[in-house]
Symmetry: C2
Subunit: 361 residues, 2 copies
């Protein structure tokens, strides 16, 4: 038997229910069967609004350095962002994505069961560019006779657009392979490129042309990946009306943020939707939900998004078998529908859901 | 009896089904009962991608000048926008909004009947800032060792934010008045301010603070208008999950574009959703749908969005009674559900729907 691979995972709970779901993520990793030949070691790291209030810094250097030097991957919980501009505060996850060059934010959205609104299964992934667009956060404010005017830069580069579209193509090809291995012929591999190049011919036009160029690579053609495009406003319209049609949707940062939340709404709960922030050889799993201060501390937060984020992180660390185990165990829990948290209409506590998923591993 | 007021209306069909729905708009105006004391004269005007292909200009000066000098209002059909950057082409409706300072884009979305997904009635209005944000279209591209990089400016001013929020407050107050006059106590007047100030504290922060300041005016308090806020990604999420809750949503230009298309999807057809581009003393009614080249020329396009856009234009020209007649006639046609176009699952032609609505005036 091959020596076990040891992965070192940074744990960044952040604020609110982040402190409940990240321990759940650790538990599932520790519970993976030893036959997979995987071991884990963990390091606790700080970031978030609470950290900011205590130390004046939302993302301590130690967190970034430890991730960079010691870790193979990480789990990030959630942060409370003040809606009012708070002097000196800026989102630690946005900063982390840029500092570690985690250039892709991957968010799979999957329906649990057919609903009256969506009888066909929803199973799509948004692949969001994670480092630029308006998230470069270059803003300035100047005075005019009519009062202050503020400007922000939206930046789109060939390099970032090319690599995100390439990743979208790879994900579409991988999904097609998985479907094929399961004998599932329901859909063809498809990447939909979204943009607003009718209004922004240079920036979004560049995203569009770089994406099409990247997706025209022979290996994607060989894998049967079809490529289409949608203007972002129609994309949202069509996403709501016929989500079952879509497979992989690639988007610049801001549109990706909006698309993934809208897609999450179609499956009724942000508590189900995972994400991974992916760079070359590094991935941070991050549930899509927020810090939910209203339920924090009650032990009833939904751990599913985090458990799926753990699986997604493993996928990008090339541990597809371990990932598949977790996905399947989670699907089993949801399909049975007996142990669900209150946001899903159930009565279970966070721990009970985690234990049920562990039993199914 | 007072002398009839004559309104001169510019008709800009544009491309595709715009040529079918704008004549429908004219017919409904001509069919309004004379007891309303309203007369109309019309002037045909050119704009659009076809115009561009014929003349090299998408928005001829004559169109802008005629609207400015002769007209009280206008109806705009739809334009085909090439998704590829086409040298010299830029959207005529975006240009028109800016040239005539039509600073608000008002889009009411109303459900026809309860649906399984949305048992409670949806009745909301998005009020979109219409002149700035990324729509200033200031872009540049520069070379780098990694290939071209493009930038666009997102501009948010105190002045534009203040006036759009003020209009949102006025619309909320007017809607509350109308509901009260109908004895409808189902919802309280509410303006939801949307932004992404957690990422863009200066630009979206300015939109947020200027909006709150404008909505704090005593007259809105007196009218019982409540004010809330939502970060745009959560806004889309909540809009899909509980649209019945919302009343008036005010947003910067781009978010407003995305919100209004998403809201339209909730009522299942863009063919139902009207809009008005509103400035001081001038309004252009514009259906939210596109030019639909796939069905253009077949006489089966849905005229409802245009008929409602005519009513909306009349509202903003202070002809609320005439507007109310049209809304009611349209609601009657939809409630009966016998004469519907194919996009609504019916078999009626455009003309038959228009005639049915006219019968109900
Ligand atoms: C909290 C916020 C800065 C963040 C974003 O906009 O990226 C969040 O919405 C997300 O999608 O992870
Ligand atoms: C066609 C396009 C330029 C336009 C816009 O983005 O404003 C359209 O989507 C709209 O909403 O009227």
């Amino acid at each position: 038997m091959a020596a076990a691979r040891t992965l070192r995972i940074g744990l960044i709970p952040g604020d609110g229910i982040g402190r409940e779901v990240i321990p759940a993520g650790r538990r599932i990793l520790e519970a993976l069967p030893s036959s997979l030949g995987l071991k884990f070691s963990f390091v606790d790291l700080e970031a978030g609004f609470d950290t900011f209030k205590q130390t004046g810094v939302a993302l301590p250097d130690r967190t970034v350095e430890t991730l960079r030097k010691e870790c193979d991957g990480a789990l990030f919980g959630a942060v409370s962002s003040p809606t009012t501009a708070t002097k000196g505060y800026s989102s630690p996850i946005v900063a982390l994505r840029k500092k570690l060059d985690l250039y892709a934010n991957v968010r799979p959205v999957k329906s649990v069961a057919p609903s009256p609104a969506y009888p066909e299964p929803i199973d799509l992934v948004t692949v969001r560019e994670n480092t630029e667009d308006l998230y470069v956060k270059e803003e300035r404010t100047y005075d005019t006779p009519d009062g202050p005017v503020a400007e922000a830069i939206k930046r789109i580069s060939t390099r970032a657009s090319t690599r995100i579209a390439t990743m979208a193509g790879e994900i579409a090809a991988r999904r097609a392979r998985v479907r094929q291995s399961l004998g599932d012929n329901t859909k063809q591999a498809l990447v939909t490129v979204t943009h607003k190049s009718n209004v922004l011919p240079q920036t979004d036009g560049l995203f569009r042309s770089a994406s099409f160029a990247a997706l025209a690579q022979q290996r994607f053609k060989d894998a049967g990946v079809k490529v289409e495009e949608q203007i972002i406003d129609s994309m949202l319209y069509k996403l709501v009306l016929q989500p079952a049609y879509y497979d992989v949707i690639v988007a610049p940062n801001l549109y990706g943020d909006l698309l993934s939340d809208t897609a999450a709404a179609l499956v009724k709960s942000l508590g189900l939707v995972p994400s991974a922030n992916v760079g070359d050889g590094f991935a941070i799993g991050e549930p899509c939900h927020g810090s939910a201060p209203d339920i924090a501390g009650k032990g009833i937060s939904n751990p599913i998004a985090t458990l799926r984020s753990v699986a997604l992180m493993l996928d990008f660390l090339n541990e597809e078998e371990a990932a598949a185990r977790i996905y399947k165990a989670v699907d089993g829990n949801l399909a049975e529908g007996k142990l669900l948290t209150p946001d899903m209409g159930g009565k279970a506590r966070t721990d009970e859901v985690v234990e049920d998923v562990i039993r199914r591993l």
